[in-house]
Every structure is written in structure tokens, then in C-alpha cells.
Symmetry: C2
Amino acid sequence: MARASTTSDAFNAVAEPRRREILTYLAGTERPVGEIVSALGLEQPSVSKHLRVLRNVGLVRMRCHGRQKLYRTNAEAIRPLHDWAATFERYWQHQLNRVKELAESTVHQSSADSNAAPKPTPNPKEKR
Amino acid sequence: MARASTTSDAFNAVAEPRRREILTYLAGTERPVGEIVSALGLEQPSVSKHLRVLRNVGLVRMRCHGRQKLYRTNAEAIRPLHDWAATFERYWQHQLNRVKELAESTVHQSSADSNAAPKPTPNPKEKR
DNA sequence: TTGACATATTCCCATATAGGCATGTAACGT
DNA sequence: ACGTTACATGCCTATATGGGAATATGTCAA
């Protein structure tokens, strides 16, 4: 199987950085496609496609006004994301405490540290 | 271009439902791979691959213990997601109010509702 | 060393992108 | 009707994926 469709849920839809930008831009206000294009500096067809994905998962709403279509973010649809992430809130608070304690007790210790993760490598070249 | 790598950031990594399950399962506790496998009912190679992705973006930490490797969720890495989503908090509150007011004032009359579907756009003769 | 156990990695492949470009379609002004 | 404006959609392609199966790597125990 390949990766799940971008339209399968909000999580997949917002994985794309541009779509996140669009959602941010459309938060609280309606905007026609053209303004999104010029504001974010993207190609018009690209914006239309992203909007289609966002609409499919309910992340944006659309309304026709003359020859233009006004889009706006449907914040409600972002809540599942927020709620899921909030589940971990208590844990990162714990971790902060742990880190703090650790820092206080090992202020001078050198780094023969074998548990540190192998670097949060952002973009491994990934061979195939 | 294809879709961005799953390892490009936390957003892409958590787009996969199984990886979210793993993160939830590993929240607050360390677990060896084998337990994740049996707990979530996935194939072992599959779990290993998902853990690799999660590790690459710093969403999990790993520690060796004998012949097994103990993983745990690094909640800190979920904060960016939470923070981004929280940006929209005020908007969904607004929306709730709007919906409420609307429901109160228009108990009898409701016209074409152009929001939900990715359907062919209905064609209201909007004038504004 | 050998064998069993715990994980990781590789190979293969059907599938779904996202971007660039061209074209289709709908609404407007004249 | 015609041209223009505002978007949407179709086509093409390089690329990355996730699952399954097989295999490799690493660690302990006897």
C-alpha cells in the first residue's frame, strides 16, 4: 500500500506546509483564490488543488461571490488535531521537569551519553 | 514533486494513523518493540519501520536494554503540532458563537447550505 | 561456537501524490 | 455574441510511500 490519501483526514491534509499556510491565511477571514495566490506566491492551479484537498476534509468552506469564490478556514475541523496533541500535554510537562532535574544534577558531566537519540535527523537521504 | 517525506517533520510523521497509535501507546512509558507489536497487532517489520520514522523526527526516543530496545514517546516533539493547532482556538470559539446566534435567530428559515461537501458547487445567484 | 531471541533492513510494487503546463468552465462587462 | 476575468481540472512525471516476505544484525545463554 502507498501512503494514505491526503484527503483521508485532517492529519494528512495539514501535513503539507502550503496547506497549513493557506489555513493560517484564511483564518478568520474570507478571501478569493486570487488573493491567496498573490499573498502566498504560489501558482494558481496549485492553490486550487490545495483548496480542493482542504475542502474535501472540511478544513475550509467556500462561498460563491460573482465570479470569484471566497474561502475561509473552518477552524472546527482543526480541533481533532488539537485534541489529539493535547493528549500529550501532561507528558511534555513531566519531561520538562525531568530535563530540569537532570540539568541541575549533571551540570558538568561530559558527554559520554549513550541514550541521546541518534540526532533528530530531519532529512535522511533515504536510499532505496 | 511527490509528497514531502514522512520524515520531513512531525506533521508528516503523524499523518499515518498507526504512528499515532504508537505514540499514544508509548506516551509516558518505555516499551520494547515486541510489546508494541503484540499490543497493536502489527507486523514486527512494520513497527520497526514506523519507529524509524518517528525517531527520525524526534517523536520517540530509544534506549538499549539487553537485546531489546526500549522506546518512549518524546512528547516535546508534539508541541509544534499542538501550538499550530492552538492558533485556531479563538476562531472555533467564534464559530461556535456564530452558529449559536444563527440557530437562535433563524429557527424557521434555512436556505441553501453551501458548506459541507466537495460537491459540484451549487449556484446561488449571490449579490452583495 | 552455536542457537535462540529481539529488532532492523532490504527488495519489490501498487498507489498517490505535488508541481508545471495547458486547457476547460463559469460569470461579468460591453 | 465576444473577450476577459477568476477558478478548476486534466495530463504527465519524478518521487516517496507502506505492506509483505525474506534476510541481516545484534545480544544473550549454554
